[in-house]
Symmetry: C2
Subunit: 228 residues, 2 copies
């Protein structure tokens, strides 16, 4: 089996992406970043549980503390001075939860690791359309970064960045996840709570709408909200 690195935050999109990479026949190497976000510990737990589910050994798991993003701030996820807005899927523009250029840090770690362990594929669960409007989730960014990865590494290092969910809606991601038995019950999406998901933040609202539109029940528990 060829080796594929999956950027696994522990959320639903990255979990489905890992399941797709496995289905496509790759041995998984899972990378997770801790960047001082509010729900860091809970996301880490989701990462480990999903890694356990896929039987990924310790040497194929990499947890990277990434202090730069917390030190730099500029996001309600990393700077306590910026308030975490109540969820509102009708809001336009780039939300305050955008962590400036975060996916570049994440992908830089994936590429460095790929170069060392000789993986040629990186999978990332970025979603461009039906999501929060983060600029670092755009296909154009990911393709530009792929070019940079191949210009900035050894000649024999050839990296392809796979984005199987880039044009999917949340409802489609739920359907794909259910159809391939992705362990969605182990995932964590909530931006603000670490015990039960709040059901009120943008991330919970997007997830809940996705399950509702797909016609499935979300297997995780919520504190409150419109999850019905």
């Amino acid at each position: 089996m060829s080796l594929a690195i999956v950027a696994l935050s522990g959320g639903m999109d990255s979990c489905v992406t890992a399941s797709i990479a496995r289905r496509e026949g790759h041995e998984l190497a899972l990378l997770h970043v801790c960047y001082g976000q509010l729900t860091e510990a809970r996301e880490r737990l989701a990462f480990e549980q999903i890694a356990d589910y896929y039987g990924v050994p310790p040497g194929r798991r990499l947890v990277v503390p990434m202090q730069a993003l917390k030190l730099i701030g500029g996001s309600s996820l990393t700077d306590p001075v910026i308030p975490l807005e109540k969820g509102d899927l009708g809001r336009s523009g780039i939300p305050l939860t955008y962590v400036p250029f975060r996916n570049a840090h994440l992908l830089a770690a994936c590429v460095s690791w790929a170069e060392v362990i000789k993986a040629r594929r990186i999978y990332i669960g970025a979603v461009e359309g039906d999501a929060s409007g983060y600029p670092d989730c755009r296909e154009s960014f990911l393709r530009a970064f792929e070019t940079a990865a191949n210009e900035g590494t050894r000649p024999e290092t050839n990296i392809a960045i796979h984005t199987p969910l880039i044009d999917k809606t949340k409802a489609e991601i739920v359907k794909i996840g259910m159809s391939i038995d992705a362990p969605l019950r182990l995932t964590w999406s909530c931006y603000c709570s670490e015990t039960l998901a709040c059901g009120l933040c943008d991330s919970c609202l997007l997830r809940l709408r996705g399950f509702e539109q797909a016609g499935f029940a979300d297997p995780i528990e919520y504190l409150s909200g419109d999850q019905g």
Copy 2:
């Protein structure tokens, strides 16, 4: 004055680059990364002393611990199992000191910071030609990363990556540095020693040859070697 971020390792190239950015009329914001390299503490000292020299206030200095590169390894600078070779400027190929894709991590931090503090210029002292052959110092990589930076950030964030030394020889860099009074005595280049520079590693040899060819004496002290 407009704000420019300079990636300042504390070596000669980044010091001259900071001096150029200042000469070009910019207010400096200096970013330094600690990634578990052998001479981390000494490089940090050089960074702080150069920042002091230019009167850069604490809020415009950012020191970023970057554990990913140490955890990933793959370089004699970060992995004690890989031996640090004795300097040999005639060696061909990519040396063992290459830290896989390091400049992408460094530039990702610069771009995130630039987006938050609204700087439009990033200066990096990468040298493509007369240097160690690191793939992440190539102009083609830096231009590709610049494209990725602008695709992956807010529409109003416009980043230019300046590489004033990209096509210079070490001797030319010494001459430029001397002509604009860059504080070269405060810089640190040695890969393996933190007290006096060894004079024997690739980085010392490149530096010493540069000073010799430029016709200047290197203002720092060496333990041994051919510095004459």
